[in-house]
Point group: C2
Chain length 190, copies 2
DNA sequence: GTCTATATTTCGATAGAC
DNA sequence: GTCTATCGAAATATAGAC
């Protein structure tokens, strides 16, 4: 599988010959299925892209940001499940950032490549939600990725489900500040 | 600067010709300063490596893990400062994982390349500290990286110092669980 | 669909003059 | 220390038979 090779050696250092060999046939046969090497990466990218629902758009709907905190909580839980069960696909993106970025810039795949990261960026940029809370949201993503991605190496002996549960708890504490009163006046405290 | 090019396009897609051009001379001149292309990457790697003190070894010292929580807190604060003031160097590692990994495997640089990630791995693997707490420690690293790395794009308009402060607060809440009694019996709660 | 060539290009690295 | 010129290797991609 190309996915494994890309994760082990990186996209650039993986030749079509290697991919073909692992698949059981020769390099030339690959060109029957994919027009360019880039297209193999694109196929993998779209596979991940299709996993992420349009929950993000819900975050954009409310102008005051009142509901965003709870919506985000749902979103991050979805993310944890997805990362846990599609670790390799997420790993591909994290370990091959330059290659994925090159995909977006490619003259081919212009329209097809609607980027998730782009939506994230504009969301985090808008001042609808207090900055401190946006930082915590961004932190939660990093926390989930860091733990669940490194799972194969760092927490190799821990079952994925248990790990996912622990990150969920941790992220929950991260998302709800100690003195919640400063952020959501009237909310129950500790 | 090679560092910028590596961060923009990735190590593999950056040719020596490009690097030389940005530096003002030709490709061949580079070979007077570096024997191999790999050595340019190594130089950058060592630059980051020298920033990280041997605080990690302190974490290994106590067998019960009692002090680890506080030591970790210090460690993560150091990390926040370092990432904030050396963003590009950390970015290089995050965005060029396969290339950095190849560095470690290279026949040259065998002894010179003592890896930081290796130490982290063995630390997180040992059951001296409760798993839930180790997950929170790993989460804190991911959180710091996620926010401070993406700073250039996501939180572009926020001063780095302010951003660092906000992550520090967030990570602090992450590191001290809501019901601390389960982890550190006798510790003051709330 | 998969094969055996082969074309084409790019890149890392070297040789040797200045 | 930097140059021009070139080598050799490896990779993407194509042509055409089966």
């Amino acid at each position: 599988m190309a996915l494994d090779l890309f994760n082990e050696q990186g996209y650039d250092k993986t030749s079509l010959r290697e991919i073909a060999q692992r698949l059981g046939f020769t390099k030339a046969a690959l060109y029957y299925h994919f027009e360019r090497k880039e297209d193999i990466l694109l196929e993998l990218h779209m596979r991940l892209h299709s996993l992420i629902p349009d929950v993000l758009e819900r975050l954009e709907l409310n102008g005051d940001g009142s509901e965003s905190a709870e919506t985000w909580s749902i979103l991050i839980d979805h993310l944890i499940d997805q990362v846990a069960s599609n670790r390799k696909l997420f790993l591909l993106h994290e370990r091959n950032f330059p290659a994925m970025q090159g995909l977006a810039r490619s003259e081919h795949h212009e329209a097809e490549h609607e980027d998730l990261a782009q939506m994230m960026r504009s969301f985090f940029a808008s001042p609808r939600i207090p900055l401190s809370q946006r930082v915590r949201m961004a932190s939660s993503i990093g926390a989930v990725m860091s733990v669940l991605m490194g799972a194969g190496e760092v927490f190799a002996d821990v079952p994925t489900a248990e790990l996912a549960g622990l990150v969920r708890e941790a992220v929950h504490d991260l998302l709800e500040p100690r003195d919640a009163s400063t952020l959501r006046p009237g909310a129950p405290v500790g």
